[in-house]
Point group: C2
Chain length 404, copies 2
Amino acid sequence: MKNIFADRMQATRKSFIREILKVTQQPEVISFAGGLPNPGLFPVEEIMSAASKVLSEEGRSVLQYSTTEGYLPLREFIAQRYLKKSGLNIDPDEILITNGSQQSLDLIGKVFLNKGDRVVMEKPGYLGAIQAFSIFEAEFEAVPLLEDGIDAGSLDRILDGNSAKLFYTVSTFQNPSGITYSAQKRKDVAAILKKHNVICVEDNAYGELRFAGEDLPTIRNYSDYTILMGSFSKIIAPGLRMGWICARKEIMEKLIVAKQAADLHSNYLSQRIIHQYLLDNDLDGHIAKIKDAYGKRRDLMVSMMAEHFPESVRYTKPEGGMFLWVTLPEGVSSLELFELAIEENVAFVPGDPFYTDDNSGSNTLRLNFSNSDNEQIEEGIKRLAVCLERLMGNVRRANAQHGP
Amino acid sequence: MKNIFADRMQATRKSFIREILKVTQQPEVISFAGGLPNPGLFPVEEIMSAASKVLSEEGRSVLQYSTTEGYLPLREFIAQRYLKKSGLNIDPDEILITNGSQQSLDLIGKVFLNKGDRVVMEKPGYLGAIQAFSIFEAEFEAVPLLEDGIDAGSLDRILDGNSAKLFYTVSTFQNPSGITYSAQKRKDVAAILKKHNVICVEDNAYGELRFAGEDLPTIRNYSDYTILMGSFSKIIAPGLRMGWICARKEIMEKLIVAKQAADLHSNYLSQRIIHQYLLDNDLDGHIAKIKDAYGKRRDLMVSMMAEHFPESVRYTKPEGGMFLWVTLPEGVSSLELFELAIEENVAFVPGDPFYTDDNSGSNTLRLNFSNSDNEQIEEGIKRLAVCLERLMGNVRRANAQHGP
């Protein structure tokens, strides 16, 4: 029965993370694997009030079919916030409400990618984007990340050799690495992409979660040849599946056709609940609480690693977001570490699925710090340290045996 | 900038209905154009209670990310209902929760259709399916509908000549025609498709809304080579965007990969609200109210047409659902009728967009009866009758002038 399926289904790999998450759902496992925001910070009471209000005041309307673009006052709120936070002048008609960032990626892939079209990714890059674009049989070109963002020289050379349709970036608190592009790098990237006529897809799912350093302009500030993606998942709640795409009108026209064919429109009740929540509450005050909590968790995780990990293990110290990135010494496998760690009931995501080429990153891994409490972080990092000692000891012994 | 888009975006036509609906949103227009369920029948109070309950008891959980397949107890409910209503033995793992039927179509298209793959449609056929499959650059073959369902001989001959990947049908209270397949026709279709190894996609969005006649088995009852689609849009509320696909496990595996890449999972709060609603309320009692109301509206619309329309105008008298189908005499254009009707502030959907070939159905149109009250139906049909008299008088005069 295999050949009844479309070719595109061969190109997609089974989600490694999905498999890992199944293992880590057991309550005895301390999991740094998922990408979950901390549910203790969800504004449950406020969402409940908002739901009651829209249902009691406009129940028949909020349960009916609605427009493909999304609820206009919600799009207006997003546009105003872009103006306030980033100085961007966005028309609400340049915003499309989606079922979260993953659908934004699916719609962008659908609208732009023919089989074999090239997409430039960060290396390591966001797994969800790799999955979404793989469905449309894209070819990936991965450009290494430096501490201040993508390697611009490398990006330029690659585009000189062979153009691409899209460049995908999580420019702020990147998933998986936690790194953030410098202002200069954003400017440089915008210029390089413009020169080569490549559209930038700037996924800003974490941008509001900065707990250290200063806010930076988006790449969109330097080039309107940029599609911006945003999400309510990390600043309100992900179960509502609500995000958006911000794009120029000629692109938006195509995205709306694709969105209509994909599911007519996003859940209207949830759009109205989120809008009511935004009307009745102080979003910035709420985000401040999230940033404070996540910042403390990152601090604790970093200090625990400094205390317990071998010195040769390196890691990023992100200024925001939910993840940090660990690099083991060359030759030490994070997959082998994962096997040891699962025996100790602690989990993370090995780096491999974040690479589009098969032979990179086998010594890297991603740790999530948003969804664990202090005790879990302390105990989990200690257990990981024990596993690391054991694994690296084995590697040292093996090297000694095979050495000169 | 045109050539930056994927080829598939050239294949999609702009939605005619979307354009029409914009015109008909003015409050003075009596609209038989949309496909909206009647919002007066939405269980607003009950949805509000369900929302309060799940948010107050499990707020942190219902607002968090969840599984791609959908909430298991909701899938179990659907499986049990299949057993009770249709005698089908369905494993809950053969059910995937989607954002309504339109997403079910998108995922099915994604999983099965390569460019140029053939899809057999009903003629006239459901516009949303034409849109969804067009995105994947399908080739359509349309087989005429008879009073008891698709023309089976014609279906068999067409598949003899040239095979197809999928056959798409709304077998009960079809959109747009309102016709229902007989039990024998369902059996015959299942056998023909099996013979040719063509998968049946049976969209049963309206099947629960029967106000006359007796329930029939699904095509799935005769062949498990059938993908069944269901929806809560017509029996609870469409703004929650909640439907499902029921398919054999080897197909489901691919659908889950596609769903994950498309948007991770369907809105979890809404899944939990619907499940809580189903636990706390009598769904059959609620559906009985909808059927009673829609049946009375259909009766009124049919009797008004019998009284006021010219005798040469034919129409279906559906036993359920939300639509009926009008056929004008040959040579009378429903597009011209639409122009006259809009001047009289009454709207419908001309038949043209329901045909995949360009030269059919110019004398047909769809009327929705679920979303108008008695006064609107009486007044709207009277106005349409006036327009018909005027248009058909013109056609008669023109024919007389050009006649022998």
